[in-house]
Symmetry: C2
């Protein structure tokens, strides 16, 4: 399947989504996902050698993201922007398990119907292996950098450990080396609120006319409080009442809300209109299983083995992936390129919304990847003297 | 009803719970709770003037606490301990709205049956007014100090603003001047998980043979993650599997858990065995309504008006009531006695579990209340010169 020629990869028109078949994919836990596909978009012309130095930036989205990085990261990706599509060929895949074109529990099963509960539990490594197979299908076996935040950062870390020879540089934002127990607790609360919705039907609700929207909305309301800093939410809403409602009335009433309740309900309902509950469960479960140390002699040994020059970025007010987790990464990674901290009241989502700070960080990262020898350069350089 | 004599109050034997009828209580939002009662315990002999200087320490419990402070704060209250019952008369009430003897939604209604949905929404001020009526029933109109953490801290703050002439000193731990939008969001998620449990039955499940245990347990699991610091939880559980279970299997299964899931489920089930869901909703709703600024010209004006010498204590890792909220209190309170910070990975619950640090803080507080003139002393002193 792998195109080993050095011909330029065949890429779709800029910004248009394409779906690439990657065949069967065996998961880390031993299940085969038959006839899997990965959806992607690209921007900017490809330059260089698909099996050597080239200008590909592989951008990895977060939990409910999609392949349209120029939408969810519009201030970072585009002509003249930090990830400058006049210079770089930006490729963004939709993660395995998601519902935006790649194979996931809401996709059609090869035997008919929807995968539903037949879709196995997947890990970050399965997602990366799917992306790796996708790049091979395109005839690409090396990228200039992998870049991602949150779940995208977890995949980026796994890229550097699963396929270090194919990644020149990495930028890992707002994530940890493994799920923390607190994250597992919060994420399991979200999974449970979906799977205990009667409409869940064991994960096989597709085609029944009923969907676990209430459970998914409840999950999102909890999740949102981990994505946003308490200072930012409080500055916006405080104890204000939702206009026209009285949350201080003589009896508690569901329809008499504080403004923040209305805001969170809006966030929850909004997600049910664009995301599938079974995919939310699959990806959240994959976050629970995030652990770069698994099968590699433990966390710090795994990180120490990393050869890819990697920049780590954290956010001072992130409660989901607290800054000390990025400090841990920076202390233990085998080839730390740089470390940066976003200062923001926004919390975890700051990497998506603090455009000015992110612009500086992304430009610094790109500059470092020009000036700093990659692991490959070092190997070549060493080779000429030592071998 | 109020005993205005200076006779020593009639107190029950040490450690035995008594229930005191306080008659009808009008809530802040305009509903009358008929024939209300407050349960309490006391330790240590009363000394002094029930309407002047005396040795009463009124201890206020947190959300699911009860009147037995020698149980939930066993390392702080007792003979020779920081709140030394050889010296002080410690009184601990059960909060209005709770289910440990005081009137709440699970109590019997004067017209028969259980209050259920007839129980109104209450506020911290309603709880304090109930405690105030209770002390009046005992013939007490002044206390040496009110002491409380979390919901107990919110009531302590309200004591200093509602009845400053009856409180010589106050110790406020791990709370804020008002609910933050983030707290309202997290607390509403808990209320919703109970009220959306089909067994809730509009709050009138008592006597039906069905109770919203699943909803209450889910609420507690979320709450627990706000009570405990993520570092403490992670140090204990990390990504460990529950013994005998495999959370990394080929498919996600409810019964194959990480250790932290099992721990949180245990916390949830444990609460359902000792607490009533409707009381949990009533008290959580009261926390949503916590706002010392309401009707007092705003938050800082209300705090500035405080005359009671008040010590503020926060915890460096508290995500429910972050330390900057206690800094806000300390900057704005009209009569700040002292400020202290607990350093702990435990988060919010540190005021209950970091016994050594709490011992020092409580002893410091007691010492300060001996050395520092109270608002009353200052008034008397000023009086002799200025009036």
């Amino acid at each position: 399947m792998c195109d080993t020629s050095s011909a330029a990869p065949h890429l779709p028109p800029e910004g248009e989504q394409r779906v690439v078949s990657i065949g069967d994919l065996a998961t880390e836990a031993g299940v085969t996902i038959r006839d899997a596909s990965i959806a992607f978009r690209r921007w900017g012309a490809f330059r260089g050698d698909p099996h050597g130095k080239n200008n590909i930036l592989l951008v990895e989205h977060a939990l409910t993201g999609d392949s349209d990085a120029t939408n969810w990261w519009c201030e970072a990706v585009g002509p003249g922007k930090a990830l400058d599509t006049d210079e770089w060929c930006v490729i963004c895949t939709n993660a395995l398990g998601s519902c935006y074109g790649s194979t996931g529990p809401a996709s059609e099963h090869p035997d008919g119907g929807v995968w539903g509960s037949r879709f196995p539990a997947i890990s970050m490594r399965d997602m990366v292996n799917a992306e790796h197979a996708f790049l091979q299908e395109l005839g690409i076996s090396r990228v200039h950098a992998v870049i991602g935040g949150s779940m995208g950062g977890a995949r980026t870390l796994e890229w550097t450990l699963l396929h270090p020879e194919e990644v020149d540089y990495a930028l890992v934002l707002a994530v940890s080396a493994r799920a923390s127990a607190w994250q597992i607790g919060m994420q399991t609360a979200q999974i449970t609120s979906i799977t205990q919705d009667p409409a869940w039907q064991g994960g096989n609700y597709h085609g029944t006319g009923d969907t676990p929207d209430a459970g998914l909305a409840a999950a999102r309301r909890i999740a949102h409080l981990t994505y946003r800093g308490e200072m930012e939410i409080d500055e916006r809403f405080g104890t204000s009442a939702q206009p026209g409602e009285n949350p201080l009335g003589p009896f508690r009433e569901d329809g008499e809300r504080f403004a923040v309740q209305s805001y969170l309900e809006h966030q929850g309902v909004k997600l049910t209109k664009r995301f599938d509950a079974s995919c939310y469960v699959a990806l959240t479960e994959a976050l629970n299983r995030h652990d770069v140390g698994r099968g590699r002699g433990g966390l710090n040994k795994a990180l120490a083995s990393s050869t890819v020059p990697t920049m780590i970025v954290g956010i001072d007010t992130d409660i989901l992936y607290p800054y000390h987790q990025q400090e841990h990464l920076s202390r233990n990674l085998g080839n730390l390129l740089a470390m940066a901290k976003l200062s923001s009241p926004v919390g975890h989502d700051a990497f998506l919304v603090e455009a000015r700070q992110m612009d500086r960080i992304l430009r610094n990262f790109i500059a470092l990847t020009r000036d700093t020898p990659s692991a490959h350069d070092v190997a070549v350089s060493r080779g000429s003297y030592d071998i």
